[in-house]
């Protein structure tokens, strides 16, 4: 079971073939390289001009999906956090008790129980992102797409968020990030350049090619520095 892209051509994007296995996949690359366009297609928000995308053999638009946008402040529709998290279930007329249960579960899964009665606009940038994550997972998605949402998280919070997401056991998580330490811990990495997939594979197969660039994971660089010196981290 996997995400398959075939003969895709859409705007600046051109991806003849790409297979992403189950688990956490990081999409990264330079600003303007087509990452957001690819993510929107994978999430079924846009339809490819040419080519096909399937998730476990199905059209992504037919799956339960969660999406966290790159402008978290713009994600929210409601003023109170608990209402915002509940909104996807309200829109499908779920029963009140079911909504309540799902909201507490989602809030617990990302550690924002303490924020549920707060106003979304009074949250910090990072807290708004966690609220958007809880909203994205409240409906138990089979595919979770995160578009550079972690640029507003400090690295401790980003690590916390990654652990939360892994614990949810969502079959497919596609995470666009500029944090190469997150990328290094992913199951699969897709590195984009000028609308094309430049490298794809496990972190161990992708990053050695980027060793002399700022894209090399800082934690790996550090490990190598310290293994050839007296410093231990």
């Amino acid at each position: 079971m996997m995400i398959r892209v075939e003969g895709l051509s859409h705007g600046i994007l051109s991806v003849p073939i790409l297979s992403i296995p189950n688990g956490l996949c990081v999409v990264t690359g330079r600003n303007g390289s087509g990452k957001t366009t690819l993510l929107r297609l994978l999430a079924g928000i846009s339809v490819p001009e040419r080519g096909s995308i399937t998730v476990d053999g199905r059209d992504p638009a037919t799956l339960e999906r969660g999406f966290v946008h790159e402008f978290p402040g713009k994600n929210s529709l409601f003023s109170i956090v608990s209402q915002e998290v509940a909104s996807p279930l309200w829109f499908r007329h779920a029963l009140c008790e079911e909504v309540e249960r799902a909201v507490s579960r989602a809030a617990r899964s990302v550690g924002i129980e303490g924020l549920l009665s707060r106003e979304v606009r009074n949250l910090s940038g990072g807290e708004q992102v966690l609220c958007a994550l809880a909203t994205a997972v409240v409906g138990n998605p089979a595919l979770l797409v995160l578009d550079e949402w972690d640029s507003h998280l400090d690295s401790d919070t980003a690590v916390h968020a990654e652990a939360c997401i892994r614990a949810m056991q969502i079959p497919h998580v596609v995470w666009c990030t500029q944090d190469m330490d997150i990328a290094a811990s992913a199951d699969y990495v897709v590195f984009m350049e000028g609308g094309r997939v430049r490298y794809s594979g496990t972190p161990l197969s992708v990053f050695p090619a980027l060793k002399d660039t700022c894209w090399y994971p800082p934690s790996w660089r550090w490990r190598e520095w310290s293994s050839s010196s007296t410093v231990s981290s």
């Binding site: 600003n31 402008f71 507003h152 400090d154 520095w225 981290s233």
Partner: protein, 232 residues
Amino acid sequence: MELVLDRVLVKRGEVSIRASCAFSPGVHLVTGSVGAGKSTLALVAAGLLPPTEGSVERRGIARSMLLFQFPELHLTEKTIREEISSFGVPVDGVLSRSGLFGRGEEDPLSLSRGELKRLLLSCVLARDDDLLILDEPFSGLDCTGRLRLCREIGKKRGGIVILCTHERHFLPRVDVIWEFEDHTLACRGRVPEAIASWQGAPAGIKALVAAGQVPQNVSFEDIGEAACRTRD
């Protein structure tokens, strides 16, 4: 020239953010985890949020600028060209520095997040403000953009630059390190002495300090240089 926050307290929900500090000319790094108070400090320093208690005094500061964490909050114009003009800076220079040459007539909202951030950074860095406050300027930039921004900040001379960020790997050379501790701003002092007492320092810097090799400054190059010194 000096920005003085005298026993400032800002209430945000259940949380009280406190700062009593003076910022002199130079680059000030303000660190702290999400929700610690960095953006609140940026708003208070810029004069956009009156403190609940205490006072803010600007001594000899005529012009100031705040770059918001979310770049779309700055947008007021329909085209990139008009947006740049609204900052009172030369349009063509900013277009080429932000990698958007030839795209002046496009809608700023058609840019990707990283491109928008790069555009607004070029606008604020092209100005000559006495006080420049950058709230999370690295977020949304790829690593090449982060390194370039570090070099640009390093070129700023004369004014006060307050850099509020959680970035850990790509930082510019800075003069003073500040840190939020339980929502209270604490000064760690001038660099390099401040580096040893920086509690939230990235793991790499902490390991260097523990090994007795305090880097000269906090930039990517300085840390790499200090790491090389530890090799036999």
